[in-house]
Structures are given as structure tokens and as C-alpha cells.
Amino acid sequence: MISEIDRYAGISSPIHRWDPRFRIVSIFAMIFSVILIYNLQLVVIGMIFAVILVYISKIPFSFVLSRMKLVFIFVLPFFVIIPITFTNTGLEMANFGGITLNYRGIEYVEFAAMIAIKALTAVMLIFPMIGTSRMDITIKALEGLHLPNKLVQMFAFTYRYIFVLDDEFMRMDRALASRGFKKRGDLYTLKTISKAIAMLFVKSYERADRVFYAMRSKGYAGTIATLHEFDSGRDDWVKTAVVAGFALLLQVAATSDTFGTYGGLW
């Protein structure tokens, strides 16, 4: 089953009560700010800020960390790939028939750590950003932010039909299992699964056709609008000032002499 990022949308916290339009823009700015920084200390400060935001949002850290597992798996190899390479710089570690493996020094380990923390921070910030309101409200916030309507429609349909597709795939999976199919590591398994996925594509295509017909039957002429109304108050502006301000502060700090860009690497 697809896990829902908005599972904790129902609880109440200052982040939950923040107008989603302001919240999305502010935290998005924060994500960008962290990604653009090339200074380990500042990135760590960004991460602490992200942890504080998650704490305030009352989303359980266990939930956040379990969703971040994949990111860990993705960033861990950086600790090997960045400091230890086959380029002929640094300390020679091993020689494989003329190709030498080099260790490039502690600053490269730091660099890898920075990349990893940046990635983790960016992903962690997504939870207070969109995990604190129901997905449909988030989509409406995007609409409210005047994101191109086609893009909003794509989000809305992805959200609406991903569960339908998931159900459909689960049904196929069960149909296979009920006729004695067992997943193994062989070619037959791969072929069968890929055929099932191909069928899922065909079914999705046909469903897309039918949904489009249904939309046309209800007078769809290219854009989608809803009735939702957001109202923002002083609190929303204050929170925005804090988070977006912090994002800006990080950038200002990055250009100052105290935290110059990463020494010598870029």
C-alpha cells in the first residue's frame, strides 16, 4: 500500500495552522536556500532548523525517519565515491593493474557529509511543508499560488489515481498469486511482472480516456477551479517572516567572509 505523506495532517500545531500557501512558499524557499549553500557549518544549521520545524509540526520523528530511509541509501555511497576515487590526486591506496585508488583527504569527507546533510535536510523539510495539511488542501494551495493550471491538474490527478492504480496492481498481483505464481529471481518472474505492468499501462490509458470523457461531460474546457477559500492573518505573515527570513539569512551568511564558500573545491 502506498504510504500517505499526509497521514499526520489531522493533528494540530502552529505549522498545521499556517496558511498552506504561505507555508509552501516559505519552506520551499528554505529548501532552496539549503541546497544552494556550500558550507558545512551553514548546512548543519539549516538541518537543525529543519529538525526544529519537524518538532514544532508534531509529526513523529519515527515517521519522518522511516520515510527518509531511501534517501539514506541514496546518499551513503557519496561517503565512498567523493573521497575515494580513481583520479590520480591524493594518497594512493591501492593499485589495480595501473589504475590507482586514491584517498583525497578529510576535506572531501566533509564535502560528502555536506552533500548528504543537504539532501536529508531538503527531504526532511518536505514533511512540515506538505505533510501538515491534507493533500487536497495542498493542491488547492498550489492553485491559490497561481501555479500553472495544467501543473495543478497533474498533481491533482496523480494524487487521485495513484491509489486506484495501486489497487489495480494489487488486484493483478493477487490474481497472479491465486494461480500459483510465485516471485523468484528468474527471467520468468521478470517477464510476468513486466507484462502485468504493461497491462496496467494499457488499463491506465483506457481509464484516462474515460476520465477525460467524464470531464468533458461535465463541461471541462481546459481549466479546473474549486470553491476552496483560504484566509490568512497576521500569524501567517509572522511565521512566513521567520522561516523565509531564515532562508534569506542563510544566503546572506553564505556570501559573508565568516562562512566563505567551500574552500578550494569550487
Binding site: R134, D136, F157, S217, K218, G219, A221
Partner: protein, 318 residues
């Protein structure tokens, strides 16, 4: 409720359609449905019923269909399909196709917003449409969490909110449990009593007598068109099209073999009750059934008329 109680609501004249692969789907289809009429469209699987439905609001159109359909007296303009829902609303067979927005309230508001109706009125329509299908207060529900029966009703609400004069539905009672089916039939009956023009595709022959004044059998072309009684009496055509007659009608045909006096076979339970009461009253409070030598062969022949393969077996009555 509707302004079109009189006059022709749907006029289809010589409609032809081929699927993109060349297969003929509809051939010389012609019929007229008057305003306020309630019509059941029956036919075997693959007979072109759903395809016909998609033609009625101009979603499917081709050279073969040009000018062959008039809705409320006006031919369909392929350039103005987005205005069609004011006149005719279509309820699709799979409610998951119709409920495409994040929240149910958005789905119900989708049609009226597209029709350019102002916000307050849209809100009112959303509330009343949901209430009419028994889903009052469901605005903020997420449609993928609804039950099958609720989804079917929700799909109807998304069409009701556009307040069309004509509503066409594709198998509204299919795949429902008996309670949900009964609830749905009640909704359809209410719409009928309000004077909406209804065109209902269905395989549910037992529901037709309650819902429809008229039955059209479609099998690529119109095979039969008449009152429910007329069409159900023409067993040969019905069976040839792969359909059947209501269970209660079959049962009274069997009763006739047992010499139950009955000229007009009842189509629904209600009329069966009336029929039985009348017969009992005429018979001094009793109904007499008799068994003769030829009773079984008569039952046999009644069954073979109504069924495609099944044969009635004598030992089953024990």
C-alpha cells in the same frame, strides 16, 4: 421541475458509428424520447449502448453521426460540447471515472463551476445534490474512501448539480449489494417523479418495470422499442438479443401452466400482489392451482421460451 415536460428531449435519427478499428458499433439507430419520459436502454454486452450514450452529449462524434442527434430540439454542435451538460448529464458506469477530484465536494462543484455559475449558487447546488442522493455533509470526504454504493450515488450527485433536464446513466444498479441497489432505485424513482427525462442503460430487468415507461432494445441498431409490457411480451426478440424477462413474469407464466387465471402477466412484485389479491377475491378468498398431464410440458415450453440454454427438469419439483 423541468421546463421541457413537453416536446422531444432526445431525437436520434440514423446514427452510425464505427470504432477506430472499423468495427461497426452503431448502425441506423433512430429513436425519439419525449420530455419527462423515462426509458430503459437494454441490449447485450457490446451492443453499443455506452457508445450511444457518449454520442448524446457530443463527446463521440464522427462524419456518420453529424446532424443525427438533436437534444431539446437543437442539433449538437461539436464546438460547443462544454455547454451540453446544461441540457444532458451523463452518469458513467464506473464511478471512479467520474470522481476525479481530491474531494467529493470538488467533484460535485466541478460541473456547475465549468458552466459559469456563481459561487454561492454552486455551494447551494453541491449541498442539495449530495442531500438528494443521501450523502448530505459528504463535501470534504475523499472519494477513494467511499464504498461502492456511495461512489455510485456520488457520481449521480456530480451530474445533478449541473441541473440538466435529461439524465442518461450507464448501468446505475450494476455491482451493488441489494440495499445499495434499492437505495439507488429510490433515487431514480424520485428523479422520474420530478419529471426529469431519464435514459437508463441496464441489464437489471427486474428493476425496469419500476423505473421505465418504455424499453428500447439496442443491438447495434434499435431492435425493439415500446412499453415495458410490449417489449417483454416479445420474448423471441428479447431472447435473440441475449436478454431475459423479469423473474416475476416468468413465475406467473409457470403459474399459468398450473391453470392460474391470468391474462396480463405482472411485471413487478407490486402488480403481482395486486393480481393475486384480485384473483383470490374473485375466487371467494381462494386461489386454485391444478396439475394435469400436460402441466409439465407447458412449464417446459414456457421455460424454453424464456431461457437460452436452461431446461426445466421435472424432478426438481419433487
Amino acid at each position: 421541475m423541468t421546463a421541457t415536460a413537453k416536446g422531444v428531449a432526445i431525437r436520434v435519427h440514423d446514427l452510425n458509428y464505427r470504432y477506430p478499428d472499423g468495427t461497426v458499433a452503431l448502425e441506423h439507430v433512430s429513436f425519439e424520447i419525449m420530455g419527462g419520459e423515462s426509458v430503459a436502454l437494454v441490449g447485450p454486452n457490446g451492443a453499443g449502448k455506452s457508445t450511444l450514450l457518449l454520442h448524446l452529449n457530443g463527446i463521440l462524434h464522427s462524419i456518420g453521426s453529424r446532424g443525427s442527434i438533436e437534444i431539446l430540439g437543437e442539433p449538437i454542435d461539436p464546438k460547443k460540447i462544454h455547454e451540453m451538460p446544461k441540457k444532458i448529464g451523463i452518469v458513467f458506469q464506473d464511478p471512479d471515472d467520474m470522481l476525479f477530484m481530491p474531494l467529493l465536494g470538488d467533484d460535485v462543484a466541478f460541473g456547475p463551476i465549468n458552466l459559469g455559475i456563481e459561487r454561492e449558487e454552486v455551494k447551494r447546488r453541491v449541498a442539495t445534490s449530495l442531500e438528494r442522493v443521501g450523502l448530505a455533509g459528504y463535501e470534504t470526504r475523499v472519494s477513494h474512501h467511499l464504498s461502492g454504493g456511495e461512489k455510485k450515488r456520488a457520481a449521480i450527485a456530480t451530474v445533478l448539480s449541473m441541473e440538466p433536464d435529461i439524465i442518461a446513466m450507464d448501468e446505475p444498479t450494476a455491482n451493488l449489494d441489494p440495499k445499495s441497489r434499492a437505495e439507488l432505485i429510490d433515487i431514480l424513482k424520485t428523479l422520474k417523479s420530478e419529471g426529469k427525462t431519464l435514459l437508463i442503460i441496464t441489464h437489471d430487468v427486474n428493476a425496469i418495470p419500476e423505473l421505465a415507461d418504455r424499453v428500447i432494445i439496442l443491438h447495434r441498431t434499435v431492435v425493439a422499442d415500446g412499453t415495458a409490457r410490449e417489449v417483454f411480451s416479445d420474448t423471441e426478440t428479447l431472447v435473440a438479443a441475449g436478454l431475459e424477462v423479469p423473474m416475476i413474469m416468468q413465475f406467473f407464466e409457470v403459474l399459468k401452466a398450473f391453470e392460474y387465471p391470468c391474462d396480463v402477466l405482472p411485471l413487478s412484485i407490486e402488480s403481482a400482489v395486486r393480481n393475486l389479491t384480485e384473483t383470490a377475491e374473485n375466487g371467494g378468498g381462494h386461489i386454485h392451482l391444478h396439475i394435469h398431464e400436460h402441466t409439465h410440458s407447458e412449464v417446459d415450453s414456457a421455460f424454453s421460451r424464456y431461457h437460452h440454454h436452461k431446461r426445466y427438469h421435472r424432478h426438481q419439483i419433487g
